[in-house]
């Protein structure tokens, strides 16, 4: 019975996580990310209609795997809310080694430009360098 209840609780939590609507802070973080990413549109970058949201805390970075193609250029843009005083984006190759990027950082916004020489998996690390726990949203553009 205990096991059944535990399973049900886990299932309910999992469902809540999957179905949870974005919070107001996540919506605000997304708006910030899109405003900044919109600037790359002037250079012919196409914004992908997808995003990754969550909560950032100093000392607790988050990492997502993406697949990039050689020949394309990319901008990864991280937006947060003012509670985050400074955030950063770093890109790593599939061995986990940091790659050279064009960085942009301004308070609760950061972006990293990158043109991969090889196609394959890369990792994007988003982190809060300074500030209180804050919602974040990562988007990317390519051309």
């Amino acid at each position: 019975m205990k096991r059944l209840l535990l399973s049900l609780a886990c299932a309910a939590l999992a469902t809540a996580a999957v179905c949870a609507a974005p919070t107001d802070n996540e919506v605000a973080a997304r708006r910030t990310a899109l405003e900044v990413a919109g600037a790359f549109g002037n250079d012919g970058f196409k914004l992908r209609d997808g995003n990754w949201t969550g909560l950032l805390e100093v000392g607790k970075p988050k990492v997502i795997q993406v697949n990039l193609y050689a020949g394309n250029q990319y901008w990864f843009t991280l937006g947060s809310v003012p509670a985050a005083k400074k955030v950063a984006v770093t890109i790593y190759d599939e061995a986990g080694k940091a790659v050279e990027i064009d960085p942009y950082e301004e308070g609760s916004v950061a972006a990293a430009g990158f043109s991969p020489a090889t196609s394959g998996s890369f990792y994007i690390k988003v982190e809060e360098v300074e500030g209180a726990p804050a919602a974040f949203c990562l988007v990317y553009s390519y051309k």
Binding site: V18, R31, T32, E35, V36, G38, A39, F40, N42, D43, K46, L47, R48, D49, G50, N51, W52, P61, K62, V63, I64, Q65, V66, N67, L68, Y69, A70, G71, N72, T90, Y92, E94, A95, G96, K97, A98, V99, E100, I101, D102, P103, Y104, V109, A111, A112, G113, T118, S119, G120, S121, Y123, K125, L138, Y140, Y142, K143
Partner: protein, 269 residues
Amino acid sequence: MIWKHRPLAGCLAFVCLCASAAGQAASLTPEEIAGAALTDGLSIPLPGEFMAALNKIGKLDWSTKFRPPIATNFSSRPQTALNVGGLIADGYIAIEAEDAQQVKNIGKDVIALAKVLGVSKDVVERASSIASFAEESQWDQLKEELEATQNEVKTAMTEAKDQDLVTLITVGGWLRGVEVVSGHVAANYTELGAKLLRQPGIVSFLNKNLEALPEKVREDSSVKIARKKMSEIERFIAFPLEKSPSIEDVKQLHKLASDAVKEISKKQK
């Protein structure tokens, strides 16, 4: 807020010229790599990204990549979902070819299949904008509209607790993209082009998702085909970083993807 970022566009070029972070950051730990998130919405590239990369290698006539129209009345929902994905990839091809009529035809077929999946309402609204963008040759806007359509279908599937079908839409689109790109690379082989086919993270992510489908969905004959072909495809897509696949490997990959797409779009008896 908009005003705050208005000067950004001008500043970015300067910032980028002045500051280039030369990878001083520490490497990721094995735990960070193993724990990295993978999401359908960001980790799996769109067919348009794949095609953009292919366009950089040389001029190609995308209209030669069209395929004959497929059925739009499949009897199984999993097969319908796989074909929605394939058709959306066809939409990207038609946009690259700048063929308005083809875009409109594919848009109609996507809606017909979406109706079977019960998600037509939102998508039908998109259809009229797809048609008008096509008539006005607004190709960039069309790409955005097509991507939004795909996301809307997937969101509707998720809301209807049909998450399994989201996986199948992604797999269907990815297979059609691989078919087209590998076919082009096989016919115009260069080592550079062949290296574009390297996508180890995606194929293992999609294969894991396929294996995690409920048994009833996994046993659908179209899904069985997709699973079988995807596991065979993995070894051709997950080649080492420093290696270029041979022309024979690329041809083999093209055959696997092509067979998968054909079988998936065949009506089940």
